[in-house]
């Protein structure tokens, strides 16, 4: 396949994943705003959503307040925000158009329909009363595209590059979400065990749609260390770092098999993936959770860049 096409499907998948992750974060921010009365802690929550998506700085240039509807409209549809959900979907579609011949009709139509639907839904300011509908539309459209890919694409290098895009983005997102909130999982705070902590932990799990799975696995007991283990090391949970890295690895293995050899990216990936299998959660806390997450974010980035270079994404 063309290097440009590999680049296209990789970014198509990344942008879709990013749009969906942003929608999840907004959902959590909103949920918290509903459960917390005072204005300043609401603003803190919205601020941390912006921090997680890396948009705090840009937002602050335009606004001084962190008022809910202003923040989520910025994140969803602000024309000045190059990382809004609407913009992500447009980028995803532009990439899909660019690689139109590499993807199936079903995938293209799913993405095109997603773009048309969201462009329509996001053509007017979103109010608190319809935010829930908007977010669930984003999630279900992302699911539609994923389903179309899963159900219609050949399992070849095209599919592999798309999946790698998805899971690199997801690993990055989960690591960032954890890193912004890592302090709520630290022992000094956990020891207090207040109801506020319970809310914070729940928030963290919800941000990655892991609240139900975690509760089910742990019979409803909230334990910060167990939460961290679940989100970082549990290979059964589709948004954990271990799961994402396993997926990147298996797709990279597929590419190595088709192309008859490995690249430096495979090497980097082996190193980064190893620690997710060899370390236990105690060792991660001993090393420093924040440092560990920073390291994961940096390595994930490096792997993405190395894949792009090795497979000639651009000239």
């Amino acid at each position: 396949m063309l290097g440009r096409s590999a680049n296209g499907v990789f970014w198509m998948a990344r942008y879709l994943e990013r749009a969906e992750n942003t929608a999840r974060l907004i959902d959590v921010g909103f949920h918290l705003a509903l459960t917390r009365g005072d204005r300043s802690s609401q603003e803190e929550e919205w601020k941390s959503v912006l921090t997680t998506t890396g948009q705090l700085e840009d937002y602050s240039e335009k606004h001084t307040e962190f008022f809910g509807p202003q923040v989520f409209n910025y994140l969803l549809r602000d024309r000045d925000n190059p990382a809004s959900v609407l913009q992500m979907i447009e980028f995803a579609r532009t990439n899909a158009r660019m690689v139109r011949t590499s993807i199936t009709d079903e995938v293209w139509e799913a993405i095109n329909e997603t773009w048309m639907t969201l462009r329509d839904v996001l053509s007017r300011p979103v109010r608190e009363t319809n935010l829930g509908d908007v977010l669930s539309t984003i999630r279900s459209q992302a699911t539609l595209v994923r389903g179309a890919m899963e159900g219609s694409m050949l399992r070849n290098d095209v599919f592999n590059f798309a999946r790698i895009g998805t899971f690199i983005e997801r690993a990055d997102s989960t690591a960032r979400i954890l890193d912004v909130k890592y302090y709520v999982l630290l022992p000094s705070v956990a020891w207090v065990g207040s109801s506020l902590d319970n809310v914070q932990w729940d928030t963290l799990l919800r941000s990655v749609a892991g609240d139900r799975a975690y509760s089910w696995l742990n019979a409803g007991t909230m334990d910060p260390r167990e939460i961290a283990r679940f989100l970082i090391l549990d290979g059964r949970f589709p948004r954990s770092l271990a799961f994402c890295y396993d997926k990147v690895r298996s797709n990279m293995a597929g590419i190595a098999m088709q192309y008859g050899g490995e690249t430096e990216a495979h090497e980097l990936l082996r190193d980064a993936g190893a620690q997710l299998h060899q370390l236990d959660i105690e060792q991660i806390f001993d090393r420093g959770l924040h440092e560990f997450l920073q390291d994961v974010i940096a390595k994930t980035n490096r792997i993405g860049a190395c894949i792009a270079a090795e497979y000639r994404f651009i000239e």
């Binding site: 396949m1 063309l2 290097g3 440009r4 590999a6 532009t94 158009r97 660019m98 139109r100 011949t101 009709d105 293209w108 139509e109 095109n112 329909e113 048309m116 290098d157 590059f161 590419i255 192309y259 497979y311 000639r312 000239e315």
Partner: protein
């Protein structure tokens, strides 16, 4: 032809007395038994289908770069087997002449020596590429894909409006329109014997492979070269590549290496044998043509001239569909085929000639004036529809640069009904059949693109000017 002269108007579906013509008899029988409300719903459904599939085009000069749909009208344009036979004979003759003409222009130039074509038509023409002189493309084919624009002026009269010998577009609409009709009204195709068009991409692929250079792989690698997603015809480029199983490439994917044109794949560079390019000559090779172009592939012309790649259509074919050269087509056909042209030209005045210019200026309000190098319906004047101010402006343009213009009478274009909320209403149409040329012969797909002016009385069918399209049926014997 603003159809005020209804006496000369030819409707393809109805006789002047309101009875239906034989070509449309079966369709009419079916149409009359349909529930009008259901037809209206189907009409709206068609638009949703096109949007979802993403069959859109971008309009040049539109600020928002919005993707538009070309409106689709669900009443088919029907051509009988007998009409088609005659048409194809005429088209084939014309396409043979076009290729012979190009071969001659870039070699001995017999037509100029014979005095039938004044040399200044070549000398002063940017479409004539000196880089092509003395070179014969692989297989001897210049125009691999041709779209001949025809209008109908009477029961047996088809007239050629334009020969598109560079990169004719619209074939994807021919295919998608048929697909849409078959989805919306499947039973129609069981009742009426319509010749299929769906194998066009396979024929195109076969035709292009047949023109591969001698150094090509056993199964030549064919790729479609597009300017990219912001090009107005990008959908078509992707569509054709997809249907042919060919790579869709951009200039940035290509590089000249080891005497071949190679594309950048995830595992390295690999040679391309046949490039179906949908970019203009100017943007092919910055070393040879436009040094400003960021789109081209430096050195591709050297590879081409040394036989390392086939470019379809060949660079320099634009000279054959130039509007000034068009006026010589009757002579060109006769010169190279030794036969009388089967298809007529529209009578055309070359404003560069003094007598013609005088006639054109005296009769401006009755004529259509076109730029010699223009396309897409831009920069033209339709005399009968123009305001006093527009006429004056054009007169000034004509006086300033007469060599840039040709003029034609306003033709009495035929009409075919379109579907409206108030029932059938006649609108003017043209027809663009698609022709493939390879060393194996000339292949004309039975059908084509019918463009229709959706505005009542309008003669401009270009999609960029608000025209629509119809499915075009050629009936089986």
């Amino acid at each position: 032809m603003t159809s005020s002269t209804s006496a000369s108007k030819y409707d393809e579906m109805f006789n002047p007395d309101g009875t239906v013509r034989p070509a449309y008899a079966d369709f009419r029988d079916w149409y009359d038994t349909q529930d009008p409300a259901w037809l209206k719903r189907q009409d709206a459904e068609a638009e949703r289908f096109f949007r979802r599939v993403g069959i859109t085009f971008n309009v040049y000069g539109d600020d928002d770069g919005e993707e538009r749909l070309i409106p689709f009208d669900m009443i088919p344009r029907i051509i009988t087997a007998r009409e088609w036979r005659k048409l194809t004979r005429g088209i084939e003759q014309r396409v043979r002449a076009l290729n012979a003409f190009l071969q001659d222009l870039y070699h001995r130039q017999e037509i100029i020596r014979s005095g039938r074509l004044p040399i200044h038509y070549l000398r002063d023409n940017d479409a004539f590429l000196s880089q092509m002189i003395g070179f014969t493309p692989p297989g001897g084919v210049y125009t691999h894909i041709v779209g001949i624009d025809l209008v109908r002026t009477g029961p047996d009269e088809f007239v050629v409006l334009e020969d598109n010998a560079r990169t004719p577009s619209g074939v994807s609409y021919m295919l998608e329109n048929r697909e849409t009709m078959m989805q919306m009204f499947p039973e129609l195709f069981t009742k009426i014997p319509v010749r299929p068009v769906s194998d066009y991409p396979r024929r195109l692929a076969r035709s292009l492979r047949a023109c591969a250079p001698t150094c090509a792989a056993a199964r030549p690698v064919v790729a479609v070269l597009t300017p990219g997603i912001y090009n107005s015809a990008y959908f078509e480029h992707a569509f054709l590549a997809d249907e042919m199983g060919a790579e869709l490439i951009e200039g940035s994917d290509l590089r000249v290496m080891d005497g071949r044109v190679q594309m950048r794949t995830t595992t390295g560079y690999t040679p391309v044998d046949v490039i179906y390019r949908r970019v203009d000559d100017d943007f092919l090779d910055p070393l040879t043509f436009n040094p400003e172009s960021a789109l081209g592939i430096p050195g591709i012309m050297d590879v081409y001239r040394s036989g390392g790649v086939t470019i379809a259509n060949a660079p320099g074919t634009g000279i054959a569909d130039d509007k000034a050269i068009y006026t010589f087509m009757p002579e060109i056909v006769e010169f190279y085929t030794g036969e009388k042209p089967i298809l007529k030209n529209v009578e055309t005045w070359r404003c560069i000639e003094e007598d013609s210019l005088k006639y054109v200026l005296d009769n401006l309000s009755d004529l259509v004036v076109k730029e010699v190098h223009g396309s897409g319906g831009y920069g033209m004047l339709i005399g009968p529809a123009a305001s006093k101010k527009e006429l004056n402006e054009f007169e000034a343009k004509l006086r300033a640069k007469p060599e840039n213009y040709i003029a034609q009478p306003t033709l009495s274009l035929s009409t075919v009904p379109i579907f409206t909320s108030k029932g059938l209403a006649p609108r003017h149409v043209d027809l663009r059949p698609f022709v493939l040329v390879s060393p194996d012969g000339i292949d004309i797909t039975p059908g084509g693109l019918t463009r229709v002016a959706l505005k009542k009385g309008s003669l401009v069918v270009n999609s960029s000017q608000g025209g629509g399209t119809k499915d075009s049926w050629v009936l089986d014997e």
